[in-house]
């Protein structure tokens, strides 16, 4: 094929290959605003983190135990808790490829999510005693870093299609980010920040509700 002929074909492709329709600007903006209103944008911006001001150190152990219990319950029932049944409106209203994709992807992510929840539970339960005993070493905190990375990957995966699971991931992202920060500062204040992260986002009441819902299923 001559260069000229190939160039001609590529010029044609510029007109015909995945020819874009008009961008649905208003519809997309409504969705972006909705996600903004839901707190996704502000949360990533760090706005909420700066508002932590209540300090209740005794919450650490109780909170992590509650998290552990609820996550444990959620992980054993994760098969029924996310997937096609609870697809959010955003996904459900798109054209056929997306729902098909989500349903096809749910199984591998369920396994990964279950494993992740188990590891996160173990880490959060162990955290207060590890810090108190001065055993929250680099390896322990590196695990928290790995779990934080996994959290962010899961947030971008179909595992987060279920709204309640997404909210849980988002709050765990904040908690784990604070745990990772302990690497540089093992002070009581830093541990308190972890507790505040749990409290600020009403993690415990929400987990109690989630646990009750799961029991009722």
């Amino acid at each position: 094929m001559t260069d000229e002929r190939f160039d001609e074909l590529m010029r044609d492709a510029a007109q015909t290959y995945h020819r874009p329709p008009s961008a649905p600007l208003d519809e997309m903006w409504m969705e972006i605003e909705q996600r903004w209103n839901d707190g996704t944008v502000e949360r990533s911006n760090g706005g909420r983190r700066t508002r932590w001001n209540a300090i209740k150190p005794w919450m650490a152990l109780a909170a992590t135990l509650v998290i552990g219990a609820a996550i444990g319950r959620a992980s054993t029932r994760s098969v029924s808790s996310f997937g096609v049944r609870k697809l959010p409106a955003r996904v459900a209203t798109t054209a056929s490829p997306s729902p098909r994709l989500d349903s096809a992807l749910s199984s591998p992510y369920e396994a990964e999510t279950s494993k992740y929840l188990g590891q996160t539970t173990a880490l959060l339960i162990a955290l207060p005693s590890e810090v108190k005993a001065g055993r929250a070493d680099d390896q322990f905190l590196a695990r928290a870093g790995d779990l934080l990375t996994t959290t962010r990957l899961l947030l971008d995966s179909p595992a987060a299609n279920d709204q309640s699971m997404r909210a849980l991931f988002e709050d765990l992202e904040l908690v784990l980010a604070q745990v990772v920060r302990l690497q540089n500062n093992h002070s009581r204040t830093e541990l308190d920040l972890v507790n505040q992260a749990l409290e600020q986002h009403d993690v415990i009441p929400r987990l109690r509700t989630a646990a009750a819902d799961l029991s009722a299923d």
Binding site: M1, Y17, H18, R35, G46, T94, A95, L105
Partner: protein
């Protein structure tokens, strides 16, 4: 006159702020258009978005979303996915805007996010997608705007679809969407020379894919 113009701008800003405050959860286009007429620079807009100004956010969005959507669609060939990836791009961009240092143009930064969002998501899509069905759907959307042989065109489109991601992104951005090598290099975070090399490789692979059709379609 300058003083007068400044006063008008101040009054307008106050009015628009009160409109925004009265309905902070939805910013409509007329408000943005009115606001945009008195805006001066993108850095100013960025600062306002970081401060939580949704009118400014909508203004930035209006300026950049069409091209982001266009790029997402070229890369995915699916309107629903392009829409979702465009939304993801802006949600991420607004969330991370405080960290945007202005080392590159905002458009470059946004397109970098777009390419990342699309690349990450499409890896998952490709594992599960029924490609035959999708390709048939896409081919139905094409319009015969050029004189290319339909068979050859279809083969070329399939060949582009099947290119490795780094080559495909490069050739779509350069040959299909008209980005310069410098722009592509900034978006992909590679040297311009690497970009040129990838484009050359991509073209070579496409030509190889069409080689068996070449004799009969070369005239």
């Amino acid at each position: 006159m300058r003083h007068g113009a400044a006063s008008v701008k101040t009054i307008l800003d106050r009015t628009l702020s009160s409109i925004a405050a009265s309905n902070p959860h939805h910013v409509t286009r007329p408000v943005v258009a009115l606001h945009a007429a008195y805006r001066v620079s993108e850095p100013d807009l960025i600062a306002r978005v970081v401060a939580g100004d949704r009118i400014a956010a909508r203004e930035l969005y209006d300026a950049h979303a069409p091209r982001v959507f266009r790029l997402a669609f070229r890369l995915t060939g699916d309107a629903a996915l392009a829409r979702e990836f465009t939304q993801d791009t802006f949600v991420r961009a607004f969330a991370q805007l405080a960290r945007f240092r202005g080392d590159s143009a905002l458009s470059t930064w946004l397109h970098r996010i777009t390419v990342t969002v699309v690349a990450n998501a499409m890896r998952k899509v490709k594992r599960f997608r029924d490609r035959e069905t999708d390709l048939e759907d896409v081919s139905l959307e094409h319009h015969d705007t050029a004189a290319a042989d339909p068979v050859l065109r279809d083969r070329l489109h399939r060949a582009i679809d099947e290119l490795p991601a780094i080559y495909r992104t490069t050739i779509i951005m350069h040959d299909i969407e008209g980005y310069t090598h410098t722009e592509i290099a900034e978006v992909l975070g590679v040297a311009a020379g690497t970009c040129k090399s990838r484009l050359s490789q991509a073209r070579a692979q496409l030509r190889a894919a069409l080689a068996d059709l070449a004799p009969e379609h070369d005239t």
